[in-house]
Amino acid sequence: MVQELLSGQRLAVLATLMSDQHGRPYSNLIAFAATEDLKEIIFATSRATRKFRNLAADPRVSLLVDNRSNQETDFGEASAVTVLGTAGEVSGPEREARLQLFLTKHPYLEEFATAPTCALIRVQVEKYIMVTRFQEVREISPAP
């Protein structure tokens, strides 16, 4: 179910912490892609952005991915997954594969993602929290 959601949705809400404001939460939408083993979530951002500054100072992040359709039926039918993880810029030999993964899902973002100012970020997933039927909650963590 988590897999379905992560591959089906293009956008996620990313929450970071504003270290210069005593850790006030900050959220925004990002385009993302998940690795096949679901252990990493990849997104791209300009190094000039607020979110980049936030996670450079404090790498703890949370993401929300959901499939709501903005109808009443969402309460029964929509599901959402919260991701807890740690973010960091991808560099070195791994970078190319991660970039390809991201661009396969978002080919229209090639110019954006390959711009010199753009950083490729990887979130290492610590836990998924899946919510279905409005309030059914389960946790999935990677094997130790």
Binding site: D37, T73, F75, V137, R138, P142
Partner: protein, 714 residues
Amino acid sequence: MSYVLSLEDIRPRHRRLVGGKGFSLAVMAQNGLNVPTTLAVTTRAYERFVAATGLKGRIQLELRRKDFKDLRWEEMWDASLRLRHLFLNTPLPADLGAVLKDALGPLLPERCVVRSSAPGEDSPQASFAGLHASFVNVVGLDAVLEHIKLVWASLWSDAALLYRRELGLEVRKSAMAVLIQEMVAGDKSGVVFGENPQDPGQMVIEAVYGLNQGLVDGTVEPDRWLLDRETGRILEYRAAPKREILLPGEEGVRLAGLSPEQLHTPPLTAAEVLQVFHLARRGEALFGAPQDMEWTFAGGRLVVLQSRPITTAARGREGDQRPWYLSLRRSFGNLKALRRKVEEELLPAMDREAGRLAALDLTALSDAGLQEEIVLRSTSYRRWHKVYWDDFIPLAHGIRLFGMVYNDAVKPEDPYEFLNLLGAAGLLSVRRNRLLLDMAARVRERPEVLEEIRTGRVTDPGLQPVWQAFLREFGDLACGTSTCTLDPEALANLIREMAATPSRGERLTETEVESLTERFLSRFGGPKRAEMAEYLDLGRASFRLRDDDNLHLGKIKAQFLKAVEEYQRRGRDLRALPPEVQALWRELTEPPRPGQGETGWQGFSRFRARQLVGQPASPGLARGPARVVREASELFHFRAGDVLVCDAVDPGMTFVAPLAGGIVERRGGMLIHGSIIAREYGIPCVTGVPQATSLIHPGDPVTVDGYLGIVIIG
């Protein structure tokens, strides 16, 4: 926006707006057949109502709590009761109310029939007569508006939910039209099947005196004619044992006795039979297929009440239990008769049998004699188990019937408020707990008497009478579960635990229940009060039986188990017993297998449930360690404040209830034992949690939210 259409205005394009029934009435009216004056409240009105009030979202929430496949029939009852309650308690949006009043008011007949007309309900592929509500003899505009909502609610009746796939029932798309008709108080009425499903050469007519409703809901048995489909010649006539007639009352309907003359005269003359025959032929010509028509004779004039194509599609497949569930919806008269049978014949016979078996000294039997006795007892248990399903369970509907009557009259905030009037204090399981708590109270005063219970030699004058009463009535405490030996050690542990906790009383005393009852009944005057008192009385009897019947059946079961235990004690091999007896033994003694847990995937192997959804069965909030009970013996380790987590609470287990901090149950429903007992002691309870006993682990700290119906783990 056309919320209301008259029959003259209805065109083929309106078919979905007015439903199958409404459309065929319009066709008949426009072709010169006699039909009652009818106004159709279109599906647009339903759609407007559920959209403007937010009901659509609430229906969605109610029905999506869990997968339909996991929903038990009792949970469907509950869901539809709650939805009915929502419809009833949600006012019409002002604009819709005004439009309906303007459109219906000036044309409203003095006495109305308010009928469901669901789109697609009467298609030739699927006929689902009787799944939705219709009301006869509704008087006045306000009452009509109220009943329109009840018909809307019946789109989500438990019966409709059972056939949701066949009906294509979907919150997003489904809607209901309602017909407001002048009530034709016919002096004889009936149905005609244009083609006999058993013999295509025949036509079938059924007729009763009075209103058709009596025939349709099975209250009054009809006379029956078989005719030649071509000529109308009567091939066969069968008179019913006639006794009663359904007549319009001041409001609604009432049953009355037939006059001496009617008792011996068929409702229809030969000439009238022929009139109905011609009507059926006319309907067939009009619709191009044989019809199933309801009609009535009023002052010599033949009026068609509704017409639909004949189908046989609704007949169940092999193994389809749904027709049985539907048979549970019984009328008041039927339930009253069933109650007499259960209380006056079945229960006494069952108790006599249990007594007779208990009196037999098993140790005196030869090995062969014992084996014979075991076989006898297994047959006895099977027989009573069948009685349990055929007669005891259907009687439980009396509770719901009272609930519906209560909710309609009182419109309480809590749709289960009526349970307070049923008087759980009289339940056997509550009486048993009272004795246990009395013993605990004595132990609290004099701790040393606990030792007397532990050894089974009770001499303390303060304890003795209670102890005796307990042994006499409930000595087979654990028998309802798996073994039959009363273990004094285990009992002493239980009582020690009860003594160590502040005593938890029943929520309502008998005097409080009495005053609640009086408050309810005082809303009604005259014959209505008497009628309500009868419904309440039936509700109480059903409620008592719902709980007690298991304990009665438990006594028969105990006698079977006792005989097998004696057999084992003699060192005999169970495999020497007939296979069906072995099977019964396994069935009764092996704990239910917990449901399959979900497994992790792709390296994410640690999976755990953090919040589970069931239904709120008793309000309150509790937190405590989970006591996951998979077999009866675990009950005796129960500690005060533990949250009881189990597959299904049976009445044999409810003795731990006064100790429990909260109750979580896999089986769902408001009227199951776990819910009843939890409400009685004011313990937070959530039922209908799929896989509760495998997703929650022993000792897990759990929070039970009995308001919202959720369980939080960790």
